[in-house]
Amino acid sequence: MLRYIIRRLLLLPLVVLGVTFGLFFLTQRLSPEMRASLYIKDPRQMNAMEEIIREYGLRDNVFKQYGRWLGNVVKGDLGYSPSANMPVARAIKEYLPATIQLAFVTILLVVFFGVWFGSASAVHKDKWQDIVARFVSVGGFSLPIFVLGLLMLMLFYGKLGWFAPGGYSVQSNMIIHAAAFKTYTGFLLIDTLLNGHPRVFLDVLFHLVLPSVTLCIGSFALMVRVMRSSMLEELNKDYVRTARAKGLPEWKVVYKHAGKNAIIPVITLASIQFIRLLGGTVIVETIFDYPGIGRFGVIAAQQLDIAGILGFSLMVAVLFVIGNLLSDILYTAVDPRIRLE
């Protein structure tokens, strides 16, 4: 186990260096002039193009340039992102908590609906409940998230006016960005309560509804399937027959006995899906204009903001390797039969 963890942690620098160097290599396709123009904020500086290229060493060979970038990263300087109009490090610090918050609310929904639909599907196997649950999950799985998102906007924002895009309303924005508002954790759902603004808390929660429900519909099919097959397996076991023979009411047999065991794979899947969701938020955040790290990455990519793209990829790679490791460890904790090698 310890050996496995160490080996996986050794993989971390390899992955991070591999991904960032690969992307860095691609940036060399852009001419030094194009890359230099990213440093230019004032049109008058255009005359100084050659100086900028020399100052930042944009004509050096790729290894030298990469080394320089890496050196800055180690010092905590990820460069300046023109698309976000702030240093990349600050953008990550500001946007990442919003995305984690979104993924967390989504995974709660995924587990809730996955367990509900999955167990209903198993208990009423081949009845209409089963067919509906399977239909909804396959349909949700096949409906592209950007189509679903637009339909949700049409219905719940345009037609009904229940929810709005964005991360919070204009009024909340003023409170959140006021000097008196203290940042404790970076997670608005927690910070608003700690600052004593329950209304802003509700507002932030309301803005999470559309993106999290959209993400949930797109990713809970797998959960339904896992819960269904796991529940079916448990329902066929001897202890369930014993419980039924004892004369326990059916709901007690299903939820207290079989359900408790059937839910184990759901927990492990949830931890894996939580990590995967961080990737899926890219599109949802763009559609709902949600101020998270995915939207930051998309805008950086669209505007060819190299520092932003590299910083975003670096962060995603680190997050994924660590996240995957944690979910592997959780896997063994929940099911001791599994051994990591």
Binding site: L11, L14, V15, G18, V19, G22, L23, L26, T27, R29, L30, V138, G139, F141, S142, L143, P144, I145, F146, V147, L150, L151, L153, M154, L155, Y157, G158, K159, R276, L278, G279, G280, V282, I283, T286, I287, G297, V298, A301, Q302, L304, I309, F312, S313, V316, A317, F320, V321, N324
Partner: protein
Amino acid sequence: MNERIWKRIYKNKTSLFGLILVALFALVALLAPVLAPVQNKNNPYQLPQKSYQIAPQPPSSQNWFGTTEQQYDLYYGVVWGTRLAFKIGITVTFFAFLIGLFVGGIAAYFGGKTDEILMRLTDIVFAVPSLVLAMVIAAMLGPDIKNMMIALTAVAWPSYARLVRGDILSVKQRDYVTAARTLGARGPRILLRHILPNSIYPSVVVASLDIGYIVLTAASLSFLGLGAQPGTADWGQLIAMARNWVLGIPGHTFFYWYTVVAPGGAIFLFVLGWNLLGDAFRDILDPRQG
């Protein structure tokens, strides 16, 4: 493809539905020049544009599915978008599989250090979610369809490399390989004549079923503006155009419904078809399922 597989697909209603959907789309893709005559001979994927008026127009006898922003014809877009979807899906899967076959084959055959290095290479690509990595690569290469396909191939090959490697490793131990070696066959001959033909088919099936997923990722990239450019018959790009019109006009939210429903419905049915077909094959290939 043997008779047993066809029988099972035929017996299962949902997988039959999936097969019919995919077959219909394939038909539309093949007959695209008949269904929607080419307007621009140099680039058939260029959408015909009726005028430069901005607001979309509802379905009519001239534009069966209506027009989207800037009067691009949606019917033409859906038909030629189907052809483009197959083109992207097949090309990307083919090249990704070829690379995967090459890398996986070398890793499995030589083993040891070579295997270790190549597999760590796949780890690197696997470590980042494929949509995010494809998005970043496509952005660096510059947004157009060819670069999008390169980006998709770059993120798709590692899973095939692992698949092929695993299959070859399991076949490598079989008796007939040992027999061939005993008879004096050399390395490359064993690999090409004995191991590959016996290990490749499951991977080929799995890879071809990924076409739906590849097309979905491609559409996502186009939607984000990092793939097909405006005016291309590409589903993702058409949906991106619909984005400006989802709120309709005051009092009529669903006024421009057709701008989302036409391309959105096409991609939904396409991906649904591949997913249903994929489920059927996964059940068939998995010997544990009865």
